[in-house]
């Protein structure tokens, strides 16, 4: 009898043990599997969105769409920022270099003037004597073509214009994205209206990043680079290098120098010949010879310069047009590289912020959080 009871007890315990193991497995499955809960709680999971102090609720699928559109908007925003920057920089540089080109005739006038000639000659003498450091040719070039400090000022203006344009662009991007978000949400309802959402997306950081105030610090980056007038700083060595450039123009320069030497020989001969015409004797004869010689030298020099100008003026202007075109290309590359880098950092910041902001959607079944391709 006791054995029978014992057996019944063991069988009962075995049944209890199996039941317990099943119950443990069932409870673990209830924790790990979402599906029974979704069926029980019914309907599509709802997602809360918090932006600028407002709370909205929408279907999880719609939240996924908003995320995808935000990722697309970030890509489009960065691409259009690149385009708009390139357009504005090209437009402003066109205007700047047009005004510089317009000054080239004045520069040529100076170059083929006695004043210009003797400024260059005196610099050569001073440099031989080790007395000159600055190059008057560069100074004159800076003054006559680039308008002295005007180039730096105009570049600073371009930087401010680009910065303002990109700031407005970022602000517009944020506004458009918000409009799109509200259009998808259609009829925003207060979060308390129904059941609490399965997850909540906080989009203030993303809105800030779109507007350029986010963690990539796009606008700060832009204004910091503009305040330092980096382009103007970068332009100065480029200008100096171009002014002293010894390529085709310098070959022309050498030709001009040789011509100048020839002119000197011709002038010396003319001066000597003129001095012979001085009939006076004694100290007056020396003064006469000096005055006549100088006048003849200058006269001949002027005449030769005029001939030289007639023959080489167009070549000089064409050479400088070429130099300016080169400078424009280099400046444009420098500016676009810098803005391009800032825009890329911003783009990356927006991309990461989209992923981070919408990552809670990953926990919801059947909803794809945006993954912007990069």
């Amino acid at each position: 009898m006791s054995t029978y009871t014992e057996r019944r007890g063991i069988a009962g315990n075995a049944a209890r043990l199996v039941g317990l193991l099943l119950a443990l497995a069932l409870l673990t499955a209830l924790v790990l599997d979402q599906r029974p809960w979704e069926r029980l709680l019914g309907g599509d999971a709802r997602v809360g969105i918090v932006i600028e102090g407002q709370r909205f609720q929408l279907e999880a699928g719609d939240a996924g769409i908003i995320g995808q559109r935000a990722a697309e908007r970030a890509n489009q925003g960065a691409a259009s920022a690149h385009d708009a920057t390139a357009r504005l920089v090209a437009q402003e540089l066109d205007a700047l270099f047009a005004s510089m080109s317009a000054r080239l005739p004045d520069y040529a006038d100076w170059y083929f003037s006695l004043k210009g000639e003797y400024a260059r000659l005196s610099f050569l003498l001073l440099r031989w004597g080790g007395l000159a450091a600055a190059d008057p040719l560069v100074d004159a070039t800076m003054e006559l073509i680039f308008g002295g400090e005007e180039l730096a000022e105009r570049l600073a203006v371009i930087e401010r214009d680009v910065e303002g344009m990109l700031g407005a662009h970022a602000s517009e991007l944020r506004t458009r994205w918000l409009e799109e978000l509200l259009a998808v949400a259609r009829e925003p309802k207060p979060a308390r209206a129904g059941s609490p959402p399965a997850t909540v997306l906080l989009l203030d950081d993303l809105a800030g990043e779109f507007a350029g105030h986010g963690s990539s610090e796009f606008l700060t980056r832009l204004s910091a680079s503009s305040a330092g007038a980096v382009s103007a700083g970068a332009a100065a060595p480029l200008v100096a290098r171009l002014a002293l450039r010894s390529s085709t123009a310098a070959a022309g320069g050498r030709a001009l120098a040789l011509k100048g030497a020839g002119r000197g020989a011709a002038k010396a001969g003319t001066a000597g010949a003129s001095a012979l015409g001085c009939a006076a004797a004694g100290p007056a004869a020396w003064a006469c010879a000096l005055a006549v010689g100088s006048a003849a030298w200058l006269g001949t020099d002027w005449a030769l310069l005029t001939v030289d100008e007639w023959r080489n003026r167009d070549a000089l202007i064409a050479d400088w047009e070429e130099r300016l075109a080169l400078l424009r290309v280099e400046l444009e590359e420098t500016l676009l590289a810098r803005y391009g880098q800032a825009i890329e950092v911003w783009h990356e910041g927006m991309r990461l912020e989209v992923e981070r902001s919408f990552s809670p959607l990953d926990s919801l079944r059947g909803v794809q959080a945006p993954r912007s391709d990069h």
Binding site: G9, L20, L24, L27, T28, W37
Partner: protein, 277 residues
């Protein structure tokens, strides 16, 4: 003799399995709470917290009574009127209830906020562990403890060991969890950001969840502050300590409820009685 011992073993195993079945209602209830808690109204949340606190109080009170009786048995004459006055009554239950209310609140908030499966799976798997530990201590104390207090002493020891084990398991699981990236934010931004994600139909529960989320964000933020040149990882340790302390409170609250369920199931057997021995 052998047959009697065997029959006793069968009965003891059956009792342990029955206890486990009773205890499974606790994680089942908490799993349902974790899914439905956010839908509850203010009144339901208050009722739930009070109900859980009352349940906890049953176990806490009975253990306090046993502790008091042990003291009285050793220190006070049974004929003294103080023996009767100090044996533990409504006042002791009220004190236990006051301690149980915050613990029940912490458990409800932690359960509704739970995101990963670690805590709830840990609670489910802990059910057989607690019962086995209690059985273990019950046998170990057979030759040492007074029979009248033996069951509650075994439960008390099992609770302490179980607290250590479950806490350790959850702390190890916490090491492998992923946490939100907060290193680019200030502490206040991190706390507000996490608090803003909390949603519940009950305003009261939402406020409590926001407080808990802000606390978690503060801990994560501290844990993510890597300052160059600072060798001593003081901030990280502080962050971890906050997280671990909260985990400890949650685990303790859960174990108190389990202990209360066992206490209610075995109330008659485990109550030390009003008589003196």
């Amino acid at each position: 003799m052998m047959a009697m011992a065997s029959a006793s073993g069968v009965r003891s195993l059956r009792g342990a399995l029955n206890d486990m079945f009773w205890l499974l209602t606790v994680p089942l209830f908490l799993i349902v709470l974790s899914r439905m808690g956010a839908l509850l109204s203010n009144e339901a949340v208050i009722g739930l917290v009070l109900g859980l606190a009352l349940l906890m109080t049953a176990g806490i009170w009975l253990r306090a009574v046993v502790r008091r009786r042990i003291f009285l048995a050793g220190a006070v004459r049974t004929e003294s009127p103080w023996y009767r006055r100090l044996r533990g009554g409504p006042l002791m239950a009220l004190v236990a209830l006051l301690g149980a209310v915050p613990l029940a609140t912490i458990l409800v908030v932690a359960t509704v906020r739970v995101t990963g499966p670690q805590l709830l799976v840990g609670m489910v798997l802990n059910v057989p562990l607690l019962v086995l530990l209690r059985e273990f201590w019950h046998r170990r104390l057979a030759g040492h403890a007074v029979p009248r207090f033996r069951a509650m002493l075994a439960l008390r020891l099992a609770l302490v060991v179980n607290l250590g084990l479950l806490f350790l398991a959850l702390a190890i699981a916490a090491l492998f969890q992923t946490y939100p990236e907060l290193s680019g934010l200030t502490l206040v931004e991190a706390m507000l950001s996490e608090a803003g994600r909390q949603e519940a139909a009950s305003g009261l529960l939402q406020a409590l969840m926001q407080l808990a989320a802000a606390k978690d964000a503060a801990a994560w933020w501290l844990g993510q502050q890597v300052l160059p040149g600072v060798i001593e990882p003081g901030l990280q340790v502080a962050g971890w300590m906050i997280l671990l302390a909260t985990d400890l409170l949650v685990v303790w609250s859960y174990l108190l409820i389990c202990a209360s369920v066992l206490t209610l199931v075995h109330w008659r057997a485990w109550h030390p009685g009003s008589h003196s021995e």
